[in-house]
Every structure is written in structure tokens, then in C-alpha cells.
Symmetry: C2
Subunit: 398 residues, 2 copies
Amino acid sequence: MTVETPHYPFAQRVQQVPKSFIREILKVTSNPGIVSFAGGLPNPALFPMQELEDCAAKVFQKRGAQVLQYSETEGYYPLREYIAARYLQKFGLTISPEQILITSGSQQALDLLGKVFLNAGDKVLLERPTYLGALQCLSLFQAKFEEVTLNSDGVDPDELEEKMFDCNPKLFYCIPNYQNPTGLHYSEEKRKLIAGIAARYPAMVIEDDPYGDISFSNHQPLPIYSYLPEKTILLGSFSKTVAPGLRVGWMVADKDIIRKATIMKQASDLHSNNLSQHILYEFLSTYDLDHHVSKIVKHYKYQRDVMLSCIEEYFPENVQYNRPEGGMFTWLTLPSTTNAREFLKKAMEQDVIFVPGDSFYASSPDLQTLRLNFSNVNDTTMRNALRKLGTILEYTNW
Amino acid sequence: MTVETPHYPFAQRVQQVPKSFIREILKVTSNPGIVSFAGGLPNPALFPMQELEDCAAKVFQKRGAQVLQYSETEGYYPLREYIAARYLQKFGLTISPEQILITSGSQQALDLLGKVFLNAGDKVLLERPTYLGALQCLSLFQAKFEEVTLNSDGVDPDELEEKMFDCNPKLFYCIPNYQNPTGLHYSEEKRKLIAGIAARYPAMVIEDDPYGDISFSNHQPLPIYSYLPEKTILLGSFSKTVAPGLRVGWMVADKDIIRKATIMKQASDLHSNNLSQHILYEFLSTYDLDHHVSKIVKHYKYQRDVMLSCIEEYFPENVQYNRPEGGMFTWLTLPSTTNAREFLKKAMEQDVIFVPGDSFYASSPDLQTLRLNFSNVNDTTMRNALRKLGTILEYTNW
């Protein structure tokens, strides 16, 4: 056995980034014959193409060269005002535009928060399981990960308190709405409890909320931010409600934190794409975002229904699954005798892919879990592919 | 005296980022009456507005929803092919698209290279003076800075060798073409010498080249990369040749390095703005970039001539200045009895601003230096403002 010596003097952090199994799988999806439940892609049929095309034309005509010049690191001010106004309208939250930093997708917000808060060796508390992109991003700061169990209505409060006490994490990262990967969301009661616990410990709460608008129920509980604004950093994104290719997300936090994050952002990429911010603002001020989002919600809800009814119909009874009330994913737990990576191998032979759940754990992965995306496969294709998956599960001797 | 206790548990690196004096000055420039030689802004009158507007419309019509979907971290492949082909055409360099990573402006390339190479305490060798954005970005990785004197035709080779030997830096960062802040460029001979020295030491060379295309002379020497491709990382940008608001830059390096930088980029912002990459590619494949750049060059050369003739005419003889053969800046050294920050205060009283040179030093700043930008002030305004500056210098008792 030979040990490969690195040719270049790479930093220690390079060795610590978990590999993206998803990324490798997604490379396969360029094969047009494959049915993919693997990605986290919004359905492009629902992008407001004509509207954005019109808005782009208007931006060039009305705003001129300023949209192509260097611009403010904080982001386009009217866009920050729009985001603030929307929090007021949706949740009655008073947030000033100065508390909002525009980021290059909400993924960048994680990078900036790592830069603002994490020294090497600092502890970060994560839901178990959690978003792979957060594991990758925060591992770059050589954080030590701790986990808290995610139950169907949010993380376990007793365990949260215990970990806060025992580990003294610097950050607690959570996705309370239609979580990636599980599709679970936190009850109102749990949000209050979590805010109360977090208030008593030094940890800052990062509340990542890319999916909150994609809600299949009429009741949207308040964000944790609303109970603990001084210690919570709330992340948002237009990737799931308008289009991800524009790379526009944001961070809401106390002004002191925003000021530090702005310095970090200036050092990282000067500012986010200016043209996209203007096009997006033109779209948001011309059209009704809620009306547009209602079309996405209707479609994804239908897709979820198809997916769950197929699982019910085709999968063995001993397969457990979540019933997401929003977002783009559901989460399955196979019987203990099986293995999701083995299942994937068999599925790929039949041109169907998904993500084994092990990628989403900071430690001790549950090898029987897997994530299915329902936003981006049409119903007929979905039925056929899920029937194939069900057949594999039914007839394989593991 | 009270010491302010930080309210939030910020990371150590937050304290180490040098403040951007430029940023503070630039906030003043929103006053329309002020004449600013401070910024590093390309002249927006030269942005190809109509062409980009047409390209944006075509991209929406021809390419559809894919331009607004999540896309490859590496960047849009045809754009990477275009960049590779341009290096072949301009310099006879064979670079494959797989050696090119699209970044969110070339500023992001610095952040990614910090992530790929720097452990806390690693040494980074910089030109003296150097680009403030590099100081800010690399300080986030808690690098220790060392400096090498920049002479009129490049860094001093003997001093470079000495620092390589004594300090063993991990990275050597340089801007060989029309440097920010000095406007200086390296001779062909120095490039060869530097590549030869770097070849004998562990340090990687980061060759930052945002201004190379903005050349007032017909002869453009080869990049250092061409003499030492396996150990040089070459950065480029469309910010000065097309428009900065699109935030499209790139990194050229060995495939092993590109692979690591791609993982870092995925963790940092998933991928760069997809719409902008498509619009830019449409522009580059429809129009002749060299023809467009020749208009910028002609204009900036005229602006430089006006600036230098005004300095010659209005400034005291004991003020030294560089004669840049490209780019957007010149660099002044005032007599030893003066101070550029004091000079700025007096200039601001007359509604003229520039950047005192002290911001551009990693240590022991030269307080008599200052940077003037000539790309973004029209000739009449420039003459009047430089006359004011000359009068201040002539009649002030320091």
C-alpha cells in the first residue's frame, strides 16, 4: 500500500472537509435517462422566466451603468428594505435594513459567520442529521461538531440543554422549517423552548430558513429569531422562491454582527452580483412574490402527495418516512438489516438515484436513512421510479 | 480610558483585519460635489451597456431556465474555454478549461487560496506596497506578512531570494501588471528572474492580474505563470475589461489546486452567479473583446496623460510620481516633511479626495505616499482638482 504524498503544501483544513457524495452523484445526473431524487434543485418550470426577462430589460433601460459598477458590500439598499418589510408583513417583526446583509446565496452567510465567530477548535452544535453544506462550510473553520437529536417537532430540548451545558458550543445551527434533509419542522412550542434555552448559554443561534416560504400549511410559526433577536442570526434566500442562479440570499442579525460580517464579506468577494440584485428588486417590486410562491407551493404539495402515496403503495411496510409540510425533501428510514448505499447501487442499475443519509451526519451516521427530493421529478416519472425502488426493497435479500 | 468589551464572542481573526480607510473615504464620495481620485472604479461611460442589454435578452430567449438554475461550482464551461483560448491567442499559453475556476470576482480567488493553502501563522510574502484587499483577505487566515521592496521594474530579486530563504513563506503574492496601488509593472527580465527564484523555494506564487489588458504599450510581457506554471496561480478578471458588477473573475492553476479550490468554493458560495456568466459569455462570443478593450485603453491613456501633465504643471518639484504604462492608478511620494493624511484633510476641505498610501503597507507604512486614480474623473474636473491639490502642497507649512 502506498500513501500518497500531497504535491502541494495544502492547509490542514483541506483534509477535513467532508466529501460531497451528492456532488459525485449529481455528476451522474447529466445522463438524461436517469431519474434523480438526489439533488436539491427547485423545479425550473416554475421559474418566472418571462417576468425576469422583462425585469432585466427594464433594469438596463431605467438604471443604466450603475447596475454594472462596483457597489456596496452590504447589498442594494431597496432590496434590503424589501426584505425588512416582508418580515414585518409576514411575522410582525421589526427589522431595519441595516440589520440585513445581502450574501451570494445563503451558503455564503455560513462562510461569513464562520469567519466572524469561529476559532479553530470551537464547538458547533448541529441537528442530527443536518445540511451537508453546513458541515462542509463550517469544517473549513476547524470547528468541532456536536449533535442534538432532531425529533418530528424539533430538536430534543433536554438534550439541547445538556449539550449547551456540557459542550459550551459557540454556535447552534438549525433549520426549523422543512429541514434539509428530513423535511421536518419545529412546532411553535419547541421554538419558544429552544429560544429560552439558548438565552441562558453563550451560543449564538444560526436559524437557516431557505424553505420557510414553501409551506403547505396555512399556519407558519414565528422564527426563533422573534423570541431571541439579540442572539439569533436568521438566514434567508430567494433561491427557492425565485431562482437559485441569481445567487441572492441574506443574513438578519444585530447591527454589531452585521458590521463584522460586512467586513468579512468585503474581504471575501467585495459585494454580491449587482445586476442580479437589481433584476430581483425589479421583480419583487413589480410582481407579488406571495402570488408567485403560491404556485410553487401548490405544485410541490402535489408532488409530495404523489411521492408519499407511491411510498405507501410500493414500499414495504417496515420502511418509515416523514410527511413534510413544506420544502422539497422527505426522509426515509429502512429496516435495520439494510444499507442505503447498497440500496443506491441497486437503484443506479435501474437508472434511479437518491442520496444515502450518511452524508448528513456529523458523526456516527445512520446507514439505513436516505433523502428523497420531490420538487424536480414529474408525477409519471416519479411513480415509475418509486415503483422500481419499492421492488428493490421488497425483493432484495440484504 | 475605557476598553470596549465585545458584546459578541467574535473570532480572533475579526480583530486582525485591517480597517479599510478607502471604504470610509468612499462613503464620502456619495456627495456628488466631491472629486474622487480615491476609488478603484472603472469608468462606467465605457461599460458596453447596449451590448450587454442585448446579450441579456438573448440569454433569456436562447438558453431558458438553465441560466437561473443551480449550476456547476467550476463555472460555465464555454466561458472557461473562452478564457483558455484567450491565453493561447495572447501569450501562446496552453491552458485547459479544467485548469480554470470561475470565481465571484478575483477577490474571491484570494479567499479560496487562503482556504486552500494557509494555516494560522503561515507566512505570506507581499510587495511593498500592495493591494489592500489582499491584506484584508489574507489577514483573515491569520497569516504573518513579510514584505519585499517593489522597484520600478518589479520586486528586488536579491531581497526576494533573501526573504524566501529567511522566512520560508507559503505564498508570494504579486501584481506584475500596472500594480494597485503604484501603477508599476515588472520587466520581462524580472519576471524570468522571479520565476527562477520561486522555483527553488517552497512558496507558491499568486500572480494577480486584473489590469494586464489595460496596457498603454504594445508590448505585453508574458505572465510569470508562463515560466513556472506548476507553482504559479494566475488570477484574472472581467471587472476592468467588461464590468465589475457582474462579479466574474477566475483562477488558473494546476488541476490538483483547482480541484481543492473547487471544494472550497462549493463550501463558500456553491457557485458564481449563473446568469452573469451566461450574459458575459454571450458578449464575449458575439463581440470582439480586444476591440472593446482598445477603447478603454485609449481613454485611460488620455486620462493618465492629463493627470501627469497636471502634476508636472501644478505640483511642487519635490513631489515624485510614477508614470504608469497601464491600469488605473499612479502613486506619489511627497517630501519627507509632509504627511499624506494631513494632506487629505486639507484636500477634503476643498472637496477633493484620494487614498493616503499608508493603507497599502503590511507594516511600517510610508506616510508620505498616496494613490491617485485616473480612470474615473473627466479631464476638466481633473485639471481643476489637481490644481487645488498642487496649491495645497505649494503653500502649506507642514
